[in-house]
Subunit: 229 residues, 4 copies
DNA sequence: GATGAATGAGCATTCATTCAT
DNA sequence: CATGAATGAATGCTCATTCAT
């Protein structure tokens, strides 16, 4: 299971192996229950080497958070074409998000569960990433308002709240989709669009949001490496 | 801050004191980082008494989850009048929810963060409560469809996904509202209704969801002891 | 299993119930693993009452040892008629001993295993009983020498060693007989007589010790309440 | 009294030091009363190292039992020449046994008292050793019967009982000899031979068992490293 | 006389972390 | 570079024992 014990790897490679192992253990056992012994063993290195490269359990965990946060943000970014309409951008971003979290469940557990649950250096680390995503969504909402040729008479805080709610809904749906067999990233994204864009009111009135036609979408998702359905 | 050290209390009272202390410590430190010593000290009793009454750290944590889950569900229930329209019920429920989580932030941390992060006996404990709420929301969505005179042609799983997303959005917004000074429970509930009921699309088109007039709502909220705005 | 909870018993009776429970628990769990809680529960009384009557765990254990040591010595005494020949007295005493230990295995565990294993106040307590029995056996050996019309040219210490060995052999055989299904007290006593009286040399040469005829023996054993075969 | 605090020893050496300390503490305090703190201190190491090498108190105790059981059996084996007569082999074995138990009283306490008193995994561990010795004695008895040109008409269980009694007598005499100043291993062995081989009957009739002449015996005992008289 | 309430003290066990080689 | 050897500091848990009622 662990990395094959190979001698004399460059430091950067060794560090990535350690982070791989750490993300797996932290994601599965939790931050406190994870032991440095287990991580070192899974990484195929001795414990003192882990300390030499990553200083402490705290620093190691922080490094995990940073690496996985960056990977997630990049995956979402790569899934979105900046030149399409706002709702389309949201649709693409959600697809990339659900695809990435489904592909790396341990990393998602680290970011979504562990980092937020264990207090201070970590919570703000992941909060930074989250704010980046929330800001992206905020821009989308404002862009949508512009597209509708309306000055958004929504106060800034209201927009922030909407973005916050949207991201929270997506996070919850990611956990639900991963736990519910047969739900694909694409379906999860569609549910999100119906919920957030059309709204329950429209939905009940028979006006769901409709996903754009297939061809173009496929390109974008493949660029992002997603596997939407 | 801790309970005043009063001697010789009946068991039921002492148990509640212990649970109070435990919720506070678990909520602030996290399950694993919380020490039974600290909990006992904050409760103003000796450690053996905690074990005599609550058996183990696991059982203590479970008791916290159960008590707070019950309290939360009851707070939401008490805030909702069953004879009003679906959107109105949702509005009232959200108000009660945000008010309760703002009033008991440690309890909310236990339920939302700690219980879900620390694996099995606990996750399913809180999952039970969550399902109760999701089921309530699901009923509201179906009721809304009936009110709109439409047979919901949404597949069952889609409705489940929508309810999941709605609850997740509310959960996220609760954390955001608690962390953002000046955001009241009432405002959070309004944001949620705009987001979930009207939808971003309607919102951008200038059709926000509008909260019902004051008088009736106030009654309901006062019954629940909430402090919406 | 525990004594039926009856109110207002005279102190002497309550004490015996506590000792009964204590012997059972001490015999089965061992001195240290036995908890005062369990003993009090099995005795059907509250823990403070146990302390009121018997002071401490040490005193309670000592009281158990004294009571059971006395009972064992009396059972052996009652099984021996003082007016018969030395080998016959030994035979009767062994029969009574094996019968008693088989009848009260928890008490035997307390005396033979627990009391000797847990250091000072206890070891000397049971050593006193043991010396009484060793002295009895020593007298038998000297009586046998007189019956053989020989001044025992054995030094006193040699006789003490022989008695010690005999008692030790009997103790071992008691454990073995209790653990080996189908071995009766009578058979164990016969084995001991062959071993100790005739000796392996005689035995191998075809000269076993032969137990006396039945009728007289029965009387003695019934007096002692034994069940030798 | 404890090992000199020397740093950085190879694991095998440290393990033996720990076992030395553990045997001493277990033998003197008893299994349950012995604390891992005390053992670690006496061994001159920290507690975590004891756990790193020996896993748990239970495993540590088991390791003690195994090491000392092996040592005892080997001491007896080394003291017996297999080509001499049965009674002579018994004499030599008893001498080696008494010499070994006198030399290592804590180890003997562990095997004879502690291991048997604290239930299962331990009891069967020492029972295995004891059965080895009982089997050896059983063979001696059968060999003696052959030497006397008699088919042993003794039933198998009778022989087992005799062997059990003999071993029990020896065990008791070992405790007695250790506790009685001035009794040598040789004297204890002689008492055992008189008791078990000649039998009290022969002894009283003036026919004691006589130890073999000195020269040959001395050799054997020296081989075993015993100090018989 | 009898008991529910309460605790001081200790114990096995684990873990992040550091040297000496 | 890499590691076997080693530990200080907690932590969950238990138990004999005692009051106040």
């Amino acid at each position: 299971m662990g990395a094959v014990k190979t001698k004399r790897m460059p430091r950067a490679v060794r560090e990535q192996q350690m982070l791989d192992a750490a993300v797996q253990i932290f994601g599965q056992r939790g931050y406190m229950a994870a032991s440095m012994d287990e991580i070192a063993e899974l990484a195929g290195v001795s414990k003192p080497l882990v300390y030499l490269y990553l200083n402490s359990k705290e620093d190691l965990f922080t490094a995990c958070i940073r690496r996985e946060a960056k990977a997630l943000v990049e995956a979402v970014r790569a899934g979105v074409r900046p030149d399409v309409s706002a709702d389309r951008q949201l649709w693409e971003g959600l697809g990339a998000f659900f695809a990435h979290t489904a592909r790396t469940p341990d990393a998602w557990a680290v970011l979504h569960l562990q980092a937020r649950t264990h207090g201070e250096p970590f919570a703000s680390e992941v909060a930074a990433m989250r704010e980046e995503i929330v800001a992206f969504v905020t821009q989308l909402i404002l862009a949508a308002a512009r597209e509708a040729h309306r000055d958004p008479d929504l106060p800034e805080r209201e927009v922030a709240g909407l973005a916050e709610a949207l991201v929270g809904a997506a996070e919850s749906l990611a956990a639900w989709a991963n736990a519910t067999p047969g739900v694909t990233a694409r379906q999860a994204a569609a549910t999100m669009m119906n919920f957030a864009w059309a709204g329950l009111g429209d939905l009940m009135a028979g006006r769901p949001w409709s996903p754009p036609e297939e061809r173009a979408g496929t390109q974008a998702e493949e660029r992002a490496g997603t596997q939407v359905e």
